[in-house]
């Protein structure tokens, strides 16, 4: 073994049209360490990793693997150089077995049988060596997300990867699954593998990495030893100014009940997604729904927002029943009743990406008389309203004529937030308010949500980010498998306790 770093980048630059995504990046990662890369969206992390994995070709710069200058024109070359990548969205064939997925693209010959036999043997060895227990014959779609991720890692190890790149690996995991992943990563490190971890969760960086690099606007601004830094210092390096990581808020002053949900049930595509959910939300209160994605939170938001019909149960707003099955169960009637909805996915739900910002500001409220004159829409009025909202919600650039897709994630979200919150709805449904949003915008959006609560409005917050749930909620309900497993007060609980509930473990069993 040499002492040369496992990866060394020198002067990597990459431009997309007028955008300089990576500017003269230098980075060196020692063998057998875990190196974190943090940065806001659009800081250039993904571009850099795509260059390292051969998806993009750098305009300038050199890559050294184990001290040797290496050209990586495509992902095949990256694999030959011993680099493996675990993507945020897994690249697995759902109806194949684990072993079939592992050998996919790395078969030995035209006949599968010998390859599979060999792979099964190797997989067993690898599983034992690194503590990655997975049944080689299980079908992918039957596995939990955490196990699917292990298959992705096994796939890379099977291809003899010595350097693993993990892109936001904990985004889809429960806290306990994330802990297990970290154990695996530590074991891999102990075996001499080099790991690059891309994440926006500063807690994870502090927990597991040896060194960390911060990227901002395409440049690598700092590289520090993790032991010598703190989350606040990292956040400041990422944004370029001091950031409040903790939300400032006063004690809630709950008033009358605004929303009352009783035994709500939803069946979709033959699968029961909500199995009798009941809760109340009062004025001036934020109810946070915690849970791993896919446990019914999406359906809860959609049925309350009028997007899908319920199969049973009842919902009332200020004591008046809300239609959840009939023809009045739609987004228009919900808005008319004073329900705002920041949907989970701004790109496919909350915004029409090719529409200009002003057209999106009217979206869902296009029947509002102030946006119309007679049979025609009053485009000038909508544009003026949009410019006004953009100024007050700090949307950048403040140009109503720019299509939604040309804004950054954070600014897209601010457009949605401005539209849904500016009318001060009695009830606000919020799904993943800060997913894919940079730290500066997170701070802003959180302040807006608290401000709306302080105006005496009721807020239902769904998020997979436990930090966000803990920081914003006045009460926390945990969902698992379409049911509410329990309610906690944020001051009386911690991430571990919530994590157990999120995994479906109740006190009795634990």
């Amino acid at each position: 073994m040499t002492d040369a770093p496992a990866i060394e980048l020198r002067g990597i630059s990459k431009a997309f049209g007028p955008v300089q995504a990576n500017k003269d990046i230098a980075m060196s990662v020692a063998r057998g360490t875990i190196h974190g890369i943090v940065g806001e969206n659009g800081a250039g992390k993904s571009t850099l990793m795509s260059i390292l994995y051969g998806f993009y070709k750098a305009d300038r710069g050199e890559i050294f693997i184990n001290g040797k200058a290496t050209a990586i024109p495509d992902s095949q070359a990256a694999i030959r150089a011993g680099i493996g990548m675990v993507h945020q969205h897994f690249k697995l064939v759902e109806n194949f077995t684990v072993v079939e997925n592992v050998i996919l693209g790395a078969e030995d010959g035209a006949m599968l049988r010998p390859s599979i036999a060999k792979a099964r043997r190797l997989l067993t060895e690898l599983s034992e060596e690194y503590g990655l227990k997975v049944d080689p014959d299980a079908i992918i779609e039957d596995l939990s997300v955490g196990h699917q991720q292990r298959v992705e890692i096994l796939k890379q190890l099977y291809r003899h990867a010595d350097i693993l790149i993990l892109d936001e690996p904990t985004g889809v995991l429960t806290p306990s699954e994330a802990d297990q992943l970290f154990l695996i990563l530590e074991r891999l490190r102990a075996e001499g593998k080099t790991i690059i971890l891309i994440t926006h969760k500063l807690r994870e960086i502090m927990e597991i990495t040896d060194t960390v690099s911060v990227m901002r606007r395409g440049e690598m601004t700092n590289t520090v030893k993790t032991a010598d830094t703190s989350p606040a210092a990292l956040a400041e390096m990422m944004v370029g100014r001091k950031v409040l990581l903790q939300v400032d808020k006063t004690q809630a002053q709950p008033g009358e009940v605004v929303l009352s949900v009783r035994d709500l049930r939803v069946t979709r595509g033959g699968v029961t997604r909500l199995k009798g959910v009941s809760f109340d939300i009062r004025r001036g209160e934020i109810l946070g729904i915690a849970g791993v994605a896919g446990n019914g939170q999406t359906e809860l938001l959609e049925v309350l927002g009028g997007m899908i019909a319920a199969s049973g149960g009842s919902v009332s707003l200020f004591g008046q029943p809300l239609d959840i099955t009939g023809t009045a169960a739609n987004g228009q009637t919900r808005r008319a009743r004073g329900i705002g909805h920041v949907p989970e996915d701004r790109q496919t739900e909350g915004l029409i990406m090719p529409f200009e910002a002003w057209e999106n500001v009217a979206f869902g409220y296009h029947f509002d008389p102030k946006y119309n004159s007679g049979p025609l829409m009053d485009n000038a009025a909508i544009r003026a309203d949009c410019a006004d909202k953009m100024a007050r919600y700090d949307v950048r650039p403040p140009n109503p004529r720019l299509p939604a897709r040309n804004f950054s994630g954070g600014n897209q979200q601010k457009i949605v937030v401005a539209r849904e919150m500016d009318r001060a709805p009695d009830l606000l449904l919020v799904g993943q308010p800060t997913r894919g949003v940079d730290i500066g915008a997170i701070e802003f959006i959180h302040k807006q949500i608290i401000a709306l609560r302080d105006q005496g409005k009721a807020i239902l917050l769904v998020s997979v980010e436990l930090d966000e749930i803990m920081g914003l909620s006045d009460r926390i309900a945990v969902m698992f498998d379409g049911q509410i497993m329990g309610e906690r007060l944020p001051q009386d609980t911690d991430q571990n306790a919530l994590g157990l509930l999120m995994a479906g473990v109740t006190e009795g069993a634990a």
Binding site: G17, P18, G305, G306, M307, N330, G331, Q332, T333, R334, R335, H341, P343, D345, T348, E349, G350, L351, I352, M353, P354, F355, E359, A362, F363, G364, H366, F367, N372, P375, L376, M377, N379, L402, P403, N406
Partner: protein, 372 residues
């Protein structure tokens, strides 16, 4: 801002595509031993060289504006209505039914009634595939194309067995009464040299009015806003409280009605009776027109004019140069469709890159050099 200026998207790219199509067409003409240059001259002269040529070119263009708008409106809701052919045929039936059934005192009243019936019949024909799409998820491309065949068979049956004049061998209806005849270009623009034989009639003004109305509908009304939103993202539309069933139904009714209006030009304005296969492929040309016109009324008018000229110039071409058969004309039209529709990206990508490179050079020049 975006990758390139709007004029490049709307004018430059279609223009390059058409020129490429004509170059390849010229090559084909040269291969069969004729002079491409002369063929080109004959076509241009045939389409635009005389009032007679203009009359036919604009007459065809009127058809294509209607069928092009029909496809364009549906496109905005991301519905691919390729049933314009059948819907127009049913529109013609509606025109014939009402003009034959009532003794009309004046053409204005007849026109109003004929418009109502052509749109009603055509929209009804479009409503069935629309319903199947909205409620049953049957793909509208499949159902509308099947409905073209059903419409065609239905018209054959009706023209042979019901509407045919007693004692006549031709599968056509009786001629409409003289009081229902629309003013032709010879009547309202005789000064421009149009003669009595020209097929061009006041329907062209209806087509232009339809363009304005479609523009207003799509870009100025709430319904148009909902149609466009639905077309871009059905999930987002549902989030905003837009009813997908309603949008699919209304859009297809409007689309069908526009296709049906084409019958006013042909059945009422020109033939003055219902004849078999009067649509003559205009429903399909409408697809190319909408594609080439980027589903915008102005683009549709320009594209319709181009295809009108290709139809008329092509007819002249086979008359003047017998070596170039009718099939050759179809080849030329097909090449234009191929280049403007299917091969759009082939032209678009290089043009986009060019504009991007120009922009970067401009930006670089504008930026002060830090070393100086």
């Amino acid at each position: 801002m975006d990758k390139m200026p709007k004029w490049a998207d709307v004018v430059l790219i279609p223009l390059i595509s058409v020129i490429l199509a004509l170059l390849v067409s010229g090559l084909v003409v040269a291969i069969i031993g004729e002079s491409p240059w002369r063929a080109m001259q004959v076509m241009v002269k045939g389409a635009f060289g005389s009032a007679y040529g203009w009359g036919y070119t604009l007459y065809y263009a009127t058809n294509f504006i209607f069928t092009g708008l029909a496809v364009a409106v549906a496109f905005h809701a991301r519905l691919f209505n390729i049933g314009g052919e059948g819907q127009a045929a049913l529109g013609g039936l509606g025109v014939a039914v009402i003009l034959l059934a009532v003794d009309w005192p004046h053409w204005t009243l007849a026109l109003a009634a004929a418009m109502g019936f052509s749109m009603l019949f055509a929209a009804t024909w479009a409503a069935i595939p629309a319903y199947l799409q909205a409620k049953r998820g049957s793909h509208i491309v499949i159902t509308t194309i099947m409905f073209n065949y059903i419409a065609s068979a239905l018209l054959v049956y009706l023209l042979v067995n019901v509407l045919r004049v007693e004692g006549s061998m031709a599968p056509e209806s009786a001629s409409f009464a003289a009081a229902t005849h629309l003013p032709s270009a010879a009547d309202f623009a005789g000064g421009l040299g149009f003669r009595g034989s020209t097929p061009l009639n006041i329907s062209i003004f209806l087509a232009l009015i339809a363009c304005v109305l479609v523009w207003l509908l799509i870009w100025r009304t709430r319904l148009g806003y909902e149609i466009r939103a639905f077309g871009h993202s059905e999930t987002a539309a549902v989030y905003a409280g837009i009813n997908p069933t309603k949008i699919i139904m209304i859009t297809m009714l409007i689309s069908g009605a526009l296709a049906g209006m084409m019958a006013i030009n042909v059945v009422m304005g020109e033939a003055e009776r219902l004849v078999l296969d009067f649509v003559e492929g205009a429903g399909f040309v409408g697809i190319a027109v909408a594609l080439m016109g980027r589903s915008h009324p102005v683009g549709v008018v320009l594209a319709a004019l181009l295809f009108g000229a290709l139809y008329q110039g092509g007819a002249e071409l086979q008359f003047e140069m017998p070596a170039i058969s009718r099939e050759m004309i179809v080849v030329i039209q097909a090449l234009v469709i191929l280049f403007t529709g299917a091969l759009d990206n082939m032209v678009r990508m290089p043009v986009q890159k060019l504009f991007l490179a120009l922009k970067r050079r401009r930006d670089d020049a504008a930026r002060p050099n830090p070393t100086e």
